[in-house]
Symmetry: C2
């Protein structure tokens, strides 16, 4: 195990009707003016926004609203939120929606609590020194942003997708009602399950050793998501499966499944960021389109962990040698991805980048890590990243 | 799953040398005057206290000291700590030691931040409205108090052991260095492992359903502790096993392993509290002396969970019927307890209560839950508790 800091201060209220507690939770924070931040019209149509507004009113909390967050949330809306928050004297941001909405809320929280251009925190030019308190009401199990320190924002002009990771932005509370995710379209549900698996796998494939408990927890989480993703494919209204997936989503990205590791290998996420920065694809689908090619490219460097994954998570029979077993595990995960309708190649994802575009994405990946190599299992130079993109075609 | 609140705000710094960060961590809290709270002389002899004092001095933080905490920590010392904290204007309590020291620090924190008799919070007569911030430097992996909301104090005059559970007392940080536990005597190490297992099992044996992820995490934790307890029995200086056990200790009692349950069945803990209140035995040993008798008495009520435990945790072969499988799982755990030198009966524990004493303990158990029944798997009346004590003789 490596020296590790674990910090998950978010208070989670989990279960049916949890969202009715938002008013008293914000009151408990001593806050008085809330920015309600959300996406399209579904939060209003479903009645969720009305219930939350009632809860705020009952607790004597006033609010202003800003909807319109889209997947791969935009910097332009973040600027609008910052302006609104400052003008209105907002002291709390409540994010109602998926990871995009929560990420956007975090960025607004940074911008409202610090001077200067908030984008500096995403390029790494400066570090934030504060963030408005954030509360989260997730409506999709996926990004785990409700407990994470991470915010990912897209700067539209140059198609740049960048993240800012800072404990200041961890939500003070998350009210998580699995019922809110019941009406999601199957494709979004599957994208969310893929994202949860990937948050766990990006940590699981690390270059550390002696991780019995962390591995055991990660494997239990992966097996749970594999099982309940299939239940939800066939029975989208299964409450218990929605609950399992939703809690798995939070744990996959709050630090628990990476405890004691070197942090894991986030190459697939970085490669997807460039992919969706250029083509605006769904995050979960972009991940599964690339992962298998990445895994085959790097698995010889930590064959022990890929074999362990194959045997304990994917339940494959040991093959003739470790490399074959590792490949069988990777193939089994790709087969699973396809079984829930997720792509395992760029073609299946529906994008056909030119060679020049592949090179450009590879270059941006390396730029995003400061010109160094990507990942830890096998540190990837620009030509490695390009090779993986090509293999994923 | 049931409606569940999960709140683990404690910042964990885990690994070799983590304790050198206490000064900067307390500085980060904006605190200036610390009460150093510890047990016997071992923290001084090992050099740990010196290192911590240096870390505080480097950060310009002053301190007063109060040692002398004993296992089953005493109310009288808590009163002394409260007086000292008030006199000296202490604004932070740093607990250096095992669960007893951390529990004692929490009680002092309540007493210093509230008017009236602190014992009221343990009898349930009043609820605390505040607690001084607590930091923890655990030197034994056992109680999980470094992340828990729980404090257990013994009132010596009447031999009453009572707990106060409140989020206010969750430590703001825990610096956890597995090396600090390397020199523990084998018996204490084993008692700690038993306590960690029991914190998980008391939650695992609940009356809830649909707990795939929670069960998977609990089972991974139990298997990890079973394995590394045996490593430490034979190789007490194995750092990696110390690390696995230490992290398991925190997770076993911070709410994670009970997520979505009804809270679990704490009968064994309550029965041990009365046992150690009367005979001052080691907590972990008191638990293992009683657990098997409790499990056999109640297992028919949730045979499904006892069978799952037998198969997934104890790795026993399925027997002729579920009841036999459940009994085999219980027997396997008792066998394990004995293999690490833990008792599985009161005789092995070294106490021989009279019938009158058994009845008295059973009565106190029921008093401690307000005169109602104990536990949820099979709610126990006073005569049930007495029967279990007798079966454990």
């Amino acid at each position: 195990m490596s020296l590790y800091t674990y910090f998950t201060p978010t208070k989670v209220i989990f279960g049916k009707g949890a969202e009715d507690q938002v008013g008293s939770l914000i009151q408990g924070q001593g806050c008085k003016k809330v920015l309600l931040h959300y996406g399209g019209g579904s939060a209003r149509r479903s009645g969720l926004l009305d219930r939350i507004e009632r809860s705020l009113e009952c607790s004597g909390i006033s609010y202003v609203s800003l909807g319109g967050v889209v997947p791969n949330p935009r910097l332009s809306l973040v600027y609008e939120g910052i302006r609104l928050a400052k003008e209105e004297g907002v002291d709390f941001i409540l994010a109602i929606g998926g990871g995009s909405v929560i990420d956007s809320a975090k960025a607004i929280g940074y911008g409202a609590a610090n001077d200067g251009d908030v984008w500096d925190f995403f390029t790494g030019a400066r570090k934030p020194s504060a963030c408005l308190p954030i509360g989260a009401v997730p409506t999709i199990a996926a990004a785990g942003s409700e407990m994470s320190w991470s915010s990912v924002i897209t700067e539209e002009t140059h198609g740049l997708k960048r993240s800012c990771n800072n404990d200041l932005s961890r939500p003070v509370f998350a009210v998580m009602d699995p019922e809110l995710t019941m009406t999601l379209p199957p494709y979004q549900t599957a994208c969310g399950c893929a994202d949860i698996l990937m948050h766990t796998m990006e940590r699981y494939f690390n270059h550390s050793d002696n991780l019995d408990l962390t591995d055991g927890i990660a494997e239990a989480l992966l097996r749970t998501v594999l099982h309940h993703s299939l239940v939800l494919r066939d029975h989208p209204d299964n409450y218990e499966s929605r609950a399992e997936i939703m809690w798995a989503g939070s744990l996959s990205h709050n630090g628990l499944t990476g405890f004691g590791t070197d942090g894991g290998d986030w190459s697939t996420h970085k490669m997807e960021h460039e992919l969706s920065g250029m083509f605006d694809v769904a995050h979960g689908a972009g991940l599964t389109a690339v992962w298998g090619s990445w895994a085959r490219y790097v698995c010889r460097e930590r064959l022990d962990r890929f074999v362990q994954f194959a045997l304990r998570v994917m339940d494959v029979a040991p093959a003739g040698d470790d490399y074959q077993t590792a490949l069988a595990g990777i193939a089994a995960m790709e087969e699973f991805f396809r079984s829930i309708g997720m792509p395992t190649s760029l073609t299946e994802l529906g994008v056909s980048p030119t060679d020049a575009q592949l090179e450009e994405m590879a270059e941006k990946c390396i730029q995003a890590v400061g010109g160094k190599t990507l990942g830890v299992v096998k540190p990837l130079a620009m030509q490695d990243v390009a090779a993986i993109y090509r293999a994923a075609k």
